[in-house]
């Protein structure tokens, strides 16, 4: 049964990540301390997120040296699972007690809040139905195609066609590779689910730090799961969500720099910051100022005391060095990868035309409008590349903050500190990247800002005086928004019918995913191992892994060479060893126009294998061509395939 395979794979690998985290934490602080420092749930989430960072880095190093084989991956995963389970028994028991206490607290609350908690849980569970979500977009171009190649070839090299893009951090992609190795791409797509759950736990833990009660935590969850910037990433194969828990964990642990867990907190802040930046480079801009502010805030009492100020500055400096050390350690695999593959450890920085820092999405007028309309643009915007919004509840509840009691010392309030650091991070982003309105690029920091409306809504709901209009308004707003977001996401993100049909075998992958899958299945069925396919498309995920390794790279493009006659273009394809041509007429129609398939050269016979709404596939049969073939695809280092001189 497919569902059982998905559950076992997902649960097993999540356990491996958790185990890796527990083993690493035990090495850092010792076994006994694990259950003493923070709540069991927070420690479990910390371990899982930490393990994700560590294990992805390990896979990256193994893939770089070509050792990413099933035997090694299974061996390491097994050690992590067993070690983690052995070391964390008391933690699981404490977690059980914590869940029971949450349940008891919820049972004693009013039925209205119980209903809201139930709806939140339902919206969270709906992520499972993303298995039935048709697969298309960026993930089928790169984020899921690269893992397929890594799993099949046991190594990491730039993905043909996206050679320049492989320089990004590959945290999510390497996790996906393991699922591909286990032949469970559906579990790979679902892996963001436990990931965002761990992120949610970290957000709630920060919420606890800033004074959020249990009801406030439920409100925070409602805000999180009604943010389309979060739920649109469910099951779409993109990797933006992997940075979220890492970033939130860094924010959480920096708040512990003066606790008993100081030593661990500093290391973890560094590690999590590094992993988060590796997972999403854009986080560096928003997290760096925020983390720095929170570091100073941690030492505020000493810094404000003139007699201790000098010593406090030294302590901040030492703490900063420790954080940077952790950050560099966690970034090291990424730097090594880019040194080896691009001869530039800090790529994409320093590579002309490839740095995200050079992004410009809109002209001056639109950019001004975006900047002036923050935070409304985050909630109501549907700009190019935005890909989701922040919950309308955040805007709706924001004015409630004026009703929050003013802390006696504003500077001492953790809520003020966290919101200020997140706000400064956001401000830094708006100043440096004004035209890039993409919540997913800075999601961890944006989610921190949700804590203010959540805290305000909780406070008002508990302290509203007769007539309790605001409490009723808050409850209605949450309920209506959750139902609306659920309905809006139905058959956009959540596909319960498709999921059921897919899991019961009534629907196959291509019926779910559509034309691209069907067209590529035709090639997969006909092509021999290592045949070269010329892809005049962005998307490629469904091709067989051997074919994916042999497709055209950016150097083989025949598009845009205006001096070539159509016969010379066909000859170029032949010389480079291509036996199949697939073109997306909606995006690469010019390729077919230039090739003129209706009048091929005499030495070429074109066999139309597939023609659909937007895709055309030909098999190229050559008969006594004028020159010889120059390139072919071979297994030089099995099981990997390489394009080589013939």
């Amino acid at each position: 049964m497919l569902i059982i395979q998905i559950i076992i794979t997902l649960f097993g690998y999540s356990l491996a990540c958790f185990g890796a985290g527990i083993l690493a934490l035990t090495l850092l602080i010792g076994r006994v301390e694990l259950i003493k420092l923070v709540s069991a749930g927070t420690m479990l989430a910390t371990a899982f997120i930490f393990g994700q960072g560590i294990i992805a880095s390990l896979w990256l190093l193994l893939a770089l040296i070509g050792w990413f084989s099933p035997l090694i991956v299974a061996g390491i995963s097994l050690v992590c699972v067993l070690g983690g389970l052995f070391l964390s028994r008391p933690l699981f028991m404490a977690f059980g007690r914590q869940v029971l206490s949450i349940w008891r607290e919820l049972s004693s609350d009013s039925w209205g809040w119980q209903g809201i908690a139930g709806l939140t849980a339902l919206l969270c569970l709906a992520w499972v139905t993303s298995i039935g979500r048709p697969f298309y977009g960026d993930a089928t171009a790169f984020y899921m195609a690269l893992p397929k190649v890594i799993a099949a070839s046991h190594r990491l090299v730039p993905l043909p066609g996206y050679e320049g893009y492989t320089n990004i951090g590959l945290q999510g992609e390497l996790h996906y590779s393991v699922f591909m190795m286990l032949n469970s791409p559906d579990a790979a797509r679902l892996f963001v689910w436990p990931t965002i759950l761990a992120g949610a736990v970290m957000l709630l833990a920060i919420g606890r730090q800033v004074g959020l009660g249990r009801r406030g935590q439920w409100i925070t969850l409602a805000l999180l799961f009604t943010s389309s910037a979060v739920i649109w990433l469910s099951g779409d194969g993109k990797v933006d969500l992997f940075a979220v828990p890492l970033g939130l964990a860094a924010y959480y642990w920096i708040m512990h720099v003066r606790d008993d867990s100081k030593r661990l907190a500093l290391w973890l802040t560094g590690f999590f910051s590094g992993f988060a930046i590796a997972a999403k480079f854009s986080y560096v801009l928003v997290m760096a100022p925020g983390i720095l502010l929170l570091l100073f805030w941690g030492f505020r009492e000493d810094l404000l005391n003139t007699s201790k100020r000098k010593q406090a500055f030294i302590m901040v400096l030492i703490a900063g060095v420790q954080i940077i050390a952790g950050l560099l350690i966690s970034l090291a695999p990424q730097l090594i990868k880019n040194s080896l593959l691009y001869q530039n450890p800090i790529a994409p920085f320093g590579i002309r035309g490839m740095g995200w820092a050079e992004q410009l999405w809109f002209g001056v007028e639109t950019t001004r409008r975006i900047v002036l309309s923050y935070p409304f643009a985050l909630t109501f915007g549907s700009y190019f590349g935005q890909y989701g919004n922040i919950s309308p509840l955040a805007l709706a509840f924001l004015p409630l903050a004026i009703l929050l009691p003013r802390p006696r010392l504003m500077f001492n309030s953790p809520l003020v500190a966290v919101i200020t650091s997140a706000f400064v991070g956001l401000l830094f982003w708006i100043i440096t990247q004004p035209s890039v309105l993409a919540p997913r690029y800075i999601l961890a920091t944006l989610l921190l800002l949700l804590l203010l409306p959540a805290r305000a809504a909780e406070y008002v709901s508990r302290n509203d005086t007769q007539p309790r209009w605001l409490t009723v308004g808050i409850m209605i707003s949450i309920t209506v928004t959750m139902i609306a977001v659920g309905l809006y996401s139905l058959n956009v993100v959540f596909f319960p019918k498709n999921t059921f049909a897919y899991l019961t075998g009534e629907m196959n992958e291509c019926e779910r995913d559509g034309e691209y899958c069907q067209a590529m299945s035709v090639i997969n069925h006909q092509a021999k191992p290592g045949d070269r396919v010329y892809l005049a498309t962005y998307y490629r995920y469904w091709l067989r892994p051997d074919l994916l390794q042999c497709v055209n790279g950016t150097r083989n493009y025949i598009e845009g060479i205006s001096s070539f006659s159509h016969e010379k273009r066909w000859l170029s394809l032949y010389q480079q060893g291509f036996l199949y041509l697939m073109a997306d007429r909606s995006t690469h129609g010019a390729v077919l126009d230039d090739l003129k398939p209706e009048s091929p050269p005499a030495w070429l016979k074109l066999n139309l294998l597939y023609e659909g709404g937007q895709l055309t596939v030909y098999r190229l049969d050559f008969d006594n061509p004028p020159t010889s073939q120059l390139r072919t695809c071979r297994q030089i280092h099995p099981p990997a395939w390489d394009v080589v001189e013939k």
Binding site: V210, G211, F362, T366, A396, P399, V460, N463, P467
Partner: protein, 71 residues
């Protein structure tokens, strides 16, 4: 560990403030629905007979929050 926040004494919330905040809350939720509302939302508005005016509001509002690449 929870860091306790020092809070001053609670006072009743003035009715006027309550009304203003309530209007704001519903305005935000309603605006979101107008921009991203599901089929069910528009069916409901149609039954209430206000779908046309809301479509017009949508057509006026949408350009403030939409733009194509490099526009």
């Amino acid at each position: 560990m929870v860091i306790q926040q020092a809070e001053v004494q609670k006072r009743p919330i003035p009715i006027a403030i309550k009304v203003i905040i309530l209007i704001w809350m519903f305005a935000m939720i309603f605006t979101y629905h107008i921009l991203f509302g599901s089929q069910e939302f528009w069916s409901l508005m149609q039954r209430l007979g206000i779908d046309n005016i809301l479509y017009q509001f949508n057509a006026w509002l949408q350009p403030f929050f939409t733009a194509d690449y490099l526009s």
